[in-house]
Subunit: 254 residues, 2 copies
DNA sequence: CGGCCAATTGACTGGCGTCAATAGGGGTGG
DNA sequence: CCACCCCTATTGACGCCAGTCAATTGGCCG
């Protein structure tokens, strides 16, 4: 919960953007050489953070812009009395902090869910992206719109679905995103969320989250061993949700 | 609920962007002459739609980009079984459909809550804004980020707050936005939402929405007469919510 | 070994959903 | 001008899903 986010390394054996092993994956649109060079030029750091580290905090006025290079993170808001809502989860390749970098003060926090590596872009240079490289600015906007679309789906889920439906939808949504990144093997993927993360994301109490989780597991939706979650019938299970039906096409990456 | 959205007028006595009575309001950042001229050049229509008209529908692939010129609208998603979640409300000056115009297919619908007028920009020209007028593209992105921030707050509300807290937060949030647009007089403003809109926005059943509404009214939070809602003590009531504390600064408008 | 924390389970409670009946306004056709 | 319908709003009764309280287990660490 609390931050211990001391960078664990910086600028050391950093893969250059040109040789980035992430951006060449099939999930992502491939960039023109000049775009990659431009991005390299606005990249100011490459950081490793431990699980639990705070990447952006609510109210921060100088939030930087990141691409999540490896690991998982999540965006959340906390009410004054401590209740916390997880707004959405981020996987490798996702843009972090675009919203925060545009607003004068961040309206949300961002926390590393696992150990993560991030590519850091200067907030100051955000504007220069628009001025100098409209193609990339357009991709930034696209990624922002995609994140909003994820939040939309979470809101619909929390507002309209029952606890079981919600949890199923969340699990399947994460499964699909992991699958698109090539992180799924034998219908299973590393699932780093604790019960507390689930409950804060779903708007359920911790106890009821655990009971719902147990129900879905016993009902044969999935198995969970060694931090890996295996969907027992991805197709059928997927039928219970809907918004996730849409194809995952290639998307931009900074 | 259903669309009857025949345009009621088009290109008739349309105020030019240069002489736009909305954009000169104090709520909005004033644009340079060349920006206004550019926006005028990408504006392709000015439409009036009746309350209930569908402006964008889920799955639409050629959604255009709008600025809401007058009236209220809302963005929503519907599950296959008919359950509907209202994602956020739009007031004059808000950008409509930026997300939809970037994605290949709209992930949400948009409906006129009252009779509305919209300024229509060509979807095809969205990209040209990035290429030709980066200042305006940046404002587009800013407005997109602001919308996400509204959805974030709604998700936090629906996920974490009780029915009473939720409804109070929604009412106060709308009050503040109306106030910022100069629509509040004597602590009261036109409140066009039906109970059904409230229930779909808050993720509550219709019956419970009505009971919660009655409770707040009887408890002295507000009065409601002639379609106008009067907050009985804006300051105190506002204390019950939090995210809405932030100042409303001037913002861009297309 | 003792402390701490995530996870789990059972018992009980309550907030919110569902069902059902009624009232009232506006439109429309006899 | 009234009968009739439809839709929104309202209220009461009842039931269930999910929250709260509380006790227990097991892993990790100092």
């Amino acid at each position: 919960m609390v931050t211990d986010g001391s960078p664990r390394s910086t600028q050391r054996s950093v893969p250059s953007c040109q040789a980035c092993p992430l951006r060449t994956q099939s999930a992502f649109l491939q960039k023109a050489q000049r775009e990659v060079e431009f991005i390299q030029s606005v990249k100011v750091d490459h950081r490793s953070l431990s699980a639990g580290a705070e990447i952006i905090y609510m109210g921060q006025e100088d939030a930087e812009l990141f691409t999540l290079f490896s690991g998982w993170a999540f965006r959340h808001q906390t009410l004054p009395d401590g209740r916390r809502q997880i707004l959405n989860f981020l996987l490798p390749g996702d843009l972090v902090g675009f919203q925060a970098s545009l607003m004068t003060a961040a309206q949300h926090s961002m926390e590393a869910l696992t150990n993560v590596e991030v590519c850091v872009f200067s907030r100051r240079k955000a504007w220069s992206i628009f001025a100098q490289m409209p193609e990339v600015a357009y991709q930034l906007a696209w990624l922002g719109a995609r994140e909003e679309s994820l939040v939309d789906e979470n809101l619909t889920s929390v507002g309209q679905r029952s606890a079981r439906e919600r949890m199923a939808a969340l699990i399947i949504g994460l499964y699909r995103r992991a699958e698109h990144l090539g992180l799924v093997e034998n219908n299973s993927f590393v699932f780093p969320l604790t019960r507390t993360h689930l409950s804060d994301a779903l708007g359920l109490s911790l106890v009821h989250t655990i009971k719902t989780w147990s129900y879905l597991r016993r009902a044969g939706y999935f198995r969970f061993e060694n931090q890996r979650l295996e969907l027992l019938n991805p197709r059928i299970t997927a039928g219970t949700t809907d918004a996730y039906q849409r194809e995952w096409r290639q998307r931009p990456i900074l």
